[in-house]
């Protein structure tokens, strides 16, 4: 049996089996979920020896027919682009479960069911090699996330969760239309050759034909996919659902949202937009990169003026994800690799920031910066962890954030499709603002004197909190010092994709110039 199948289905099995638990036995429910997620993670580590980094194509492919008339199959597999994201999902879930121990105090059975279901969906999104299957996973995620925010969230959770749902659904509808059109179009070509029944959602087939679609049509398809993914990223100006979702979600919800769910958007851009529509991608690279750069600065500036810590971190995501998008659309191997490592880095450091905010929230039940001050005095060890997460986000060299930011910037600088240094120059100014909003927040929360009586007796980290923070620190430093361990997985896939795109450009150059 394929390891990948095991990694994918174990969370589902776990979540379904939770339904047979007695809802009163909270301890067993918690323990079981944690064990399932840890086993999933351990099994996912066995993907590493089974994954050949030298091969840029899909590996560990499993293909089972499902709806033959539509040629929709249960097709899964991984390549360099998705490999790290699968590992990120399996790594973050146990940590999110650990943090749930402290933050979830009602309907535990339903909660852990939802959380494991969410993990099933996340992994599914990253391993699907069939657009039909992909779409199912993509939409599946909405359900647990909708409930996690809506049931276990804070005061304004209903507004936030509906907003989250609507934004995402609007985007996916356009994607669905594009998938259907694409399926019929390629299916038609195949049928003319005497293969199939006029429809296919097989990604491996689609990617051979989609890049040959004429530019006018592929523009529309590109936009339909891009809208869906850019909402998820979220790319400016489609970002306003994120701060609300983050602020209202419980800590583990925010962690998963930031660490993995946002990456589904950037992953989608790489996997589908760039790979299926290289010409349109090149044509729209300027527009999307401009939005990315605006997002970098805009997110940072708005983060600066927030009074709510969680909202501040949420806006910082808008800024950081801008680097990822910029790297992707630089269409260079450097930028692409930077984008991939930045996705992982952002997952780790922003996930950790949300955990740290959660640590404070569990003790004080407020997210207002002004309620804090001088916390370093009562929580010295927490201070160290919070500072590491902060400097990782600031992009300090030696920690993870720097590698991705630097490579995406260098990619944008030497990009053959973005014909201006302006992208990099403006994006690079984001490094200043990142320092401003994070350091300023840290100063107001952690430093100064501990004047607020409510903060006088805060306990330092619990054992539980240690266990969820230490693994993150290890990887934050590891990626910062020796990113090669991680980047070598995607090296060849990135190169291959960039080469494909740039070849497409040469091929289509006349059309572009005619315009």
């Amino acid at each position: 049996m394929s390891i990948l199948l095991l990694v994918l289905f174990l969370p589902l099995v776990g979540s379904l089996s939770l339904l047979f638990f007695n809802r009163e036995n909270i301890k067993a429910i918690k323990g079981y979920s944690l064990v399932i997620s840890i086993i999933t993670f351990v099994i996912s580590l066995f993907l590493i020896p089974n994954f050949n980094s030298a091969n840029p194509g899909f590996q560990l492919v499993f293909d089972h027919s499902w709806i033959p008339s539509l040629d929709a199959g249960f097709r899964i597999g991984i390549d360099g682009m998705s490999f790290l994201l699968v590992l990120l999902s399996t790594f973050i879930t146990p940590i999110a479960i650990l943090s749930s121990y402290d933050s979830i105090h009602k309907k535990e059975k339903e909660y852990y069911f939802m959380l494991l279901l969410l993990q099933f969906g996340m992994i599914g999104v990253f391993v699907s090699l069939d657009l039909f299957l992909f779409y199912i996973f993509w939409e599946l995620i909405l359900i647990p996330m909708y409930f996690i925010i809506g049931i276990w969230g804070r005061k304004n959770r209903i507004y936030a969760t509906v907003k989250f749902f609507l934004f995402t659904v609007v985007g996916s509808l356009f994607m669905l239309v594009a998938i259907v059109w694409l399926g019929y179009h390629v299916g038609g070509i195949l049928k003319a050759q005497g293969i199939g029944h006029g429809f296919t959602s097989n990604f491996l087939v689609l990617k051979e034909y989609a890049s040959k679609i004429d530019l006018d049509t592929s523009r529309w398809l590109f936009l339909a996919f891009a809208l869906s993914f850019c909402i998820k990223v979220p790319l400016f100006p489609l970002h306003t659902w994120l701060p609300d979702a983050h602020t209202e979600a419980p800590t583990p919800g925010s962690v998963i949202l930031a660490a993995v769910l946002l990456k589904m958007g950037t992953y989608g851009l790489i996997r589908f937009n760039i790979e299926l529509f290289p010409n349109a991608s090149i044509e729209y690279a300027g527009v999307i990169s401009t939005l990315a750069v605006i997002g970098i600065i805009y997110g940072a500036l708005v983060a600066m003026v927030q009074t709510d810590i969680k909202r501040l971190v949420a806006y910082s995501s808008v800024s950081h994800l801008g680097f990822v998008v910029l790297g992707i659309f630089s269409m260079t191997a450097e930028g692409m690799q930077g984008a991939i490592i930045q996705m992982v880095s952002h997952g780790l450091s922003t996930g950790m920031l949300f955990l740290c905010v959660g640590v404070l929230y569990e003790r004080r039940h407020t997210r207002e910066i002004s309620e804090y001050g001088g916390i370093a005095k009562v929580m010295p060890i927490f201070t160290v962890f919070f500072a590491i997460a902060m400097f990782a986000s600031v992009g300090l060299p030696g920690l993870n954030g720097f590698v991705g930011e630097y490579l995406t910037l260098i990619g944008a600088f030497m990009s053959p499709v973005l014909h201006s240094f302006a992208y990099s120059i403006f994006a690079a100014s984001g490094v200043i603002f990142a320092a401003v909003y994070l350091l300023w927040m840290f100063q107001r929360v952690m430093y100064g004197t501990n004047d607020n009586v409510a903060n006088h007796n805060l306990k330092d980290l619990t054992k539980n909190e240690y266990f969820m923070l230490i693994p993150l620190v290890i990887f934050i430093v590891w990626i910062g010092v020796y990113p090669k361990t991680f980047m070598s997985f995607s090296e060849n896939s990135s190169r291959a994709l960039v080469n494909k795109v740039m070849k497409a450009e040469i091929y289509k150059m006349p059309t572009l110039e005619k315009k």
Binding site: T240, F391, V431, L439, W440, Q443, G448, E491
Partner: protein
């Protein structure tokens, strides 16, 4: 031998890790101090032995020691590699040598602090990062150190995070730490962009490769826009780290940190990183006369501006801070006129005497129970004889009195500025030097001589323990004699060679060749005259300071403040630079972000559209719902209307 270089940064890193992870368990201050100091001390010994072997056998080219591949993507590949050459080994010796002394000093100074281990962990982290900065074989390793020392500086400025610190828009020490980090980041943007331009055009970030490429194609690149842009962007980074205009404001506020930190980081080592970086890339700067002029002009302007502010400061550390900014300005001017050797020489002598002065100030603050206002001191000579004597040597050295070290290095710079033919540069620096001698002795008189102005009931001044006086004595000896390493040609008469610049010749020879200005001719007359002139000026301003401040009523200075109240106000407000930044940049950006971007664009426009369309859907639903009234007649009527419409449509189509 050269392979050993990797241990130089590794040992302080080890110290940092040991103290950082287990320091809270070690209750013994002596043990903590020993761990921290010995790691740096051993690094110093290694550095000296590498230096020795270089003396015996000078390598033809810089030796590159590779550790591992750090970042690799596409065609971009950066190694974590160290470069051993005359320049890097010199800086390494300064950093680890003075670093060890300041570690020893800190054992006494930080005695009894509740976070003793944390302090030493940070100091070791700083040394590690600073060594990466100077030893790095490419821009990115230097940048790692560059940002790393920024981090260490941030952590140490805000070390006493619950202490208030007065300043413009600054309440806590943490605010000062933020200011330092953020102003540095503005400079870092320049450095980042410079790196991108270099990589894009030369395909590498290795110093040695860049240098070779540039030397080979110097004809085509010289004076071009590309090279000027790169040089100016690098220089922007330097203005941040080395506190030059326009990014100079953070250094005086960095005095919020413990005094040994001010000595090590904000005087002797980190702030000279800018001079190092320009020296390391001397060829880039040599190729751009425009950039060199900018460096010289900014350096001289900063030297004078900071010196003028130093005239009116009353905080012992602030006086030293402004003098550091000013002295750094001297160094940049030297680089700007192509006198790279002289600039680096001043880095070294300045590290001696300014390290000494700050430690002396630390000793005074320690003995005065954390009083820093020199107007509340006086007559400390009899209580703290060693501090007094060593401080005097430091003050003489910075004032440029022969034969103390500052005289040689400063006069070298003045002479190079003069012989460059730029009389304005020279005049600016000479005036700054005049100010320096004055405010340094003003501080000296107010602190150690005259009437005792402190409250005898609460303050009992005392000499510091041996851990603190020992480093003072060592640095005093270095400050007194260090100048003889770099005796100017005019004074050496061919008998005493300028050992220092000779040592650095291989590093700068390409740059000097490009600038095309060798060592001046044999005519030394004007150089002698200048030396005599500046010595007379320095002695004059010392006498003036004595006249002003030895009488305890300070009648003359008080009268001057009254008569020139306008100028005094400008100086007292540091030329209003901080105010300008806030009014010009910080406030508008903050207000725009809050009112325009967040509250208006996000909330009103984007969410307005989203919520509006939701509202619209709702309303449509509300209205159409009314049609579903359940009254059959209405449905029949609607059907009829519909049929009429369809027929009409078919007929008139």
């Amino acid at each position: 031998m050269y392979e050993l270089v990797k241990f130089i940064p590794f040992l302080p890193l080890l110290g940092f890790l040991i103290l950082g992870l287990f320091g809270s368990k070690i209750k013994n201050e002596k043990l903590i101090g020993t761990i921290a100091t010995s790691t740096v001390g051993i690094s110093f010994i290694i550095a000296v032995s590498i230096f020795m072997s270089m003396l015996n056998h000078t390598p033809e080219k810089p030796v590159i020691v590779n550790l591992f591949t750090w970042i690799e993507a596409g065609n971009f590949k950066i190694n974590l590699a160290y470069q051993v050459d005359q320049l890097s080994i010199l800086f390494t010796m300064i950093i680890t040598g003075i670093g060890s002394l300041i570690h020893i000093f800190s054992i006494g100074y930080m005695h009894g602090d509740k976070s003793f281990f944390r302090f030493f962990a940070y100091l070791n982290l700083f040394i590690f990062m600073m060594l990466n900065l100077v030893l790095g074989a490419n821009f990115l390793v230097t940048f790692l150190g560059w940002e790393g020392v920024g981090l260490a500086s941030y952590l140490l400025i805000g070390f006493w995070y619950d202490k208030k610190f007065p300043g413009y828009r600054i309440t806590w020490t943490g605010d000062a730490a933020n200011k330092a980090f953020i102003m540095n980041r503005i400079g870092d943007l320049g450095l980042l962009l410079a790196m991108f331009l270099i990589y894009l055009n030369f395909g590498t970030l290795d110093y040695q490769l860049i240098k070779e490429t540039l030397v080979a194609s110097s004809g085509t690149l010289a004076g071009g826009g590309l090279i000027t842009a790169i040089a100016l962007l690098i220089f922007l980074g330097c203005t941040g780290k080395s506190a030059q205009i326009p990014l100079s404001g953070w250094l005086p506020d960095a005095m919020a940190g413990p005094t040994p930190v001010s000595s090590l980081i904000h005087a002797a080592t980190m702030v000279t990183a800018g001079i190092f970086l320009i020296s390391r890339n001397s060829v880039i700067f040599a190729l751009s006369p425009t950039a060199l002029s900018v460096v010289a002009a900014i350096g001289a302007a900063t030297a004078l501006l900071a010196a003028s502010i130093g005239l009116v400061q009353n905080d012992i550390k602030k006086v030293l801070a402004y003098s550091t900014v000013s002295q750094l300005g001297f160094m940049f001017t030297a680089l700007g006129v192509g006198a790279f050797g002289a600039g680096v020489f001043h880095v070294m002598t300045h590290a001696f005497f300014k390290g000494l002065l700050f430690l002396g100030a630390g000793s005074v603050i320690h003995g005065m129970h954390h009083e820093q206002n020199i107007k509340k001191m006086g007559g400390l000579k009899k209580y703290m004889p060693i501090t007094y004597f060593t401080f005097l040597i430091g003050t003489l050295a910075i004032s440029g009195i022969p034969p103390f070290s500052g005289f040689f290095s400063k006069d070298e710079i003045l002479w190079k500025a003069y012989s460059d033919g730029n009389i304005v540069l020279w005049g600016t620096l000479a005036l700054a030097a005049l100010f320096t001698a004055f405010y340094m002795f003003r501080m000296f008189y107010l602190t150690f001589l005259g009437k005792e102005r402190f409250d005898h009931h609460h303050v009992h001044p005392h000499e510091s323990p041996a851990t603190m006086t020992f480093p003072l004595i060592v640095l005093a000896i270095a400050s007194a004699l260090g100048g003889f390493l770099g005796v100017p040609h005019a004074l050496g008469m061919g008998v005493i060679p300028n050992v220092f610049e000779h040592w650095l010749d291989p590093v700068f020879e390409d740059a000097i060749k490009i600038i095309g200005r060798g060592e001046g001719g044999a005519v030394h007359t004007s150089e002698y005259l200048l030396m005599i002139f500046s010595t007379v000026v320095a002695i004059g301003s010392i006498l003036l300071a004595k006249k002003f401040y030895s009488n305890s009523n300070w009648t003359t200075p008080k009268r001057l403040v009254k008569n020139f109240s306008f100028s005094y106000k400008i100086l007292d407000h540091k030329w209003y630079l901080d105010n300008l930044y806030y009014i010009g940049f910080v406030n508008p950006i903050f207000d725009a972000s809050q009112k325009l971007l967040w509250k208006f664009f996000d909330v009103k426009i984007i969410d307005g559209i989203v919520n509006g369309s939701a509202q619209l859907t709702n309303n449509i639903g509300e209205q159409t719902r009314k049609i579903q009234s359940g009254v059959v007649q209405n449905y029949a009527l609607l059907m009829l209307v519909g049929i009429v419409f369809i027929i009409a449509f078919m007929v008139f189509k």
